[in-house]
């Protein structure tokens, strides 16, 4: 069974942008990945009192006055800063004018798992601890989960469908999938898609800590020593366009978005099911019209929790059969930390860079694999490999699965 049928336009990527713990733009992020640099370190930007998790992948050198060009966005939440910066980078790379000749033919679908978490915390501190009489007047606008999408829409002059997706760690992937769908079916010609996340606060860490899924030591996907994930922050943006639109304006095409697969486990809030991820990968292959052997690299969800990594490896084996053992797979979360809602966009960019560069990023910190994770996870050192198609997996709490397949630009 496939999810998408009928006549449709081809979708290409013409711009990418990223803000991550290992680089404040896509180029710097990719060069960090090439070096196998890890962004996880001791928490420095907030109070660690009463925390027993002392590590995260923080963005420590982000200055909105310097890194965000719009004054209006500078008044927004940290998650909107990351979003606007990544979207502006992607838009610039695409070489699109602001606004487009017909701004109603463009969309902005830009999600966040949690919205303005920093703002919520500051506001509660003001109200309940400092006993202030009122919150900052911008509090509400900063918190709203669609404020990043709205900011990007305002900055880039987008007048078509503009909203946020929200599906925990699959947020960005669902946003990209939705943008692609709008282009395929002719609703718009251009879509800025992706997600942003900035939840590294004391209160947020306390909530994650209570769920007992964070590692106190590091993010080691597929490793025997893995004992939980590590939270990160950041954003990723992709400018998607119809192939005709990109060709007509002579744009440089970075990759083609060939397939999308989505499914829901419909089972449990935390325990993943093997059939949901398996089906999402199968749907993506069918949607792209590709066979499992056509995929040359898989960017795994690979969170480094005990449950995900075994379940994902099992799902990959079900989809790829014997070829699963030959397929190079890595979790770039080993370097970026878990960017939650933004992860899917940043990982999609790693996939596109891998296609362009002929080089596959590694899973760092993988000295001894878990015997239950027995595939090729590109341990510690990346490798040169010219690949035609790549797959990116995103699976979220609640069993919400979304998978993308990118291929080389059309000849």
């Amino acid at each position: 069974m496939t999810q998408s049928k009928g006549e449709r336009r081809r979708v290409v990527v013409t711009g990418v942008g990223a803000v991550t713990p290992i680089g404040l733009d896509a180029r710097e992020m990719w060069s960090s990945m090439r070096e196998g640099r890890c962004g996880v370190g001791p928490i420095e930007t907030f109070d660690k009192k009463d925390l027993y998790i002392h590590i995260a992948a923080e963005i420590k050198n982000f200055d909105p006055a310097k890194h965000v060009s719009s004054k209006k966005v500078q008044y927004g939440d940290r998650y909107s800063w990351f979003a606007a910066r990544s979207a502006e980078e992607a838009w610039k790379q695409a070489g699109l004018p602001t606004p487009l000749a017909d701004p109603y033919r463009s969309a902005c679908i830009f999600g966040s798992g949690a919205g303005g978490f920093n703002t919520i915390e500051t506001a509660y501190d003001d109200l309940f601890i400092k006993q202030k009489k009122a919150t900052n007047p911008l509090t509400l606008l900063r918190i709203i989960g669609s404020s990043a999408a709205a900011h990007i829409g305002i900055e880039q002059g987008i007048k078509g469908p503009t909203f946020a997706t929200c599906s925990a760690c699959s947020t960005a992937t669902h946003a990209i999938a939705t943008g692609a769908d709008y282009i395929r079916h002719g609703l718009v010609d251009v879509a800025v898609t992706g997600a942003s996340e900035a939840v590294l606060t004391h209160g947020s860490l306390r909530t994650w800590q209570a769920m007992r899924v964070l590692s106190p030591e590091g993010c080691f996907p597929f490793s025997k020593k893995r004992n939980g994930t590590v939270l990160g922050e950041g954003a990723g943006a992709l400018v998607l366009e119809s192939l005709e639109h990109a060709q007509a304006r002579g744009a440089t095409i970075l990759a083609e978005l060939k397939g999308v697969g989505m499914s829901s486990d419909s089972k449990d809030m935390v325990n993943p099911d093997v059939d949901g991820p398996r089906t999402a990968m199968e749907f993506a292959l069918a949607d792209a019209g590709l066979k499992p052997e056509d995929i040359g690299y898989l960017n795994a969800h690979g969170t480094a929790t005990t449950l995900n990594d075994v379940n994902e490896s099992n799902a990959i084996k079900m989809v790829f059969g014997d070829y699963a053992y030959k397929l190079p797979i890595s979790s770039t979360k080993s370097m970026t930390g878990h960017l939650l809602g933004a992860g899917g966009a940043v990982e999609a960019i790693a996939c596109i860079k891998a296609l362009q560069d002929g080089w596959l990023p590694p899973t760092v910190g993988l000295d001894e694999p878990d015997p239950k994770c027995d595939l090729d996870y590109i341990p510690n050192v990346g490798r040169a490999a010219k690949v035609s198609n790549v797959m990116s997996n995103s699976f979220a709490f609640g069993g919400l699965n979304a998978v993308l397949i990118f291929g080389q630009p059309p000849a």
Binding site: Y52, A210, R212, V213, N227, G228, V270, T306
Partner: protein, 88 residues
């Protein structure tokens, strides 16, 4: 069975879909059909009831969380303030 054990078994029963009356100190937690999120809730409830902090990580199989008795021992050690932190 002492107060600590009784209180912990009550907490366990509260979080079970089908509470049983045959839970003893040797009962393995895996026999109680407790899933990972349930265990996080149980640990939270125990921490709240006893005013202690238990360094438990759902990603690791910890000896302290094998049987009801091992949980009781762990809580008692923490209550006495003599408990070395469990391997987190």
């Amino acid at each position: 069975m002492d107060d600590v054990a009784t209180k912990i078994i009550d907490i366990l029963k509260k979080h079970m879909k089908e509470p049983r009356d045959d839970i003893g100190l040797t009962t393995a937690l895996t026999d109680l059909k407790i899933e990972s999120l349930d265990l996080a809730m149980i640990v939270f409830d125990i921490e709240d009831s006893f005013g202690i902090q238990i360094p438990y990580n759902a990603n690791e199989e910890v000896e302290d969380f094998k049987t009801v008795g091992s949980v009781v021992d762990r809580v008692k050690a923490l209550l006495e303030g003599s408990g070395a932190p469990a391997k987190a």
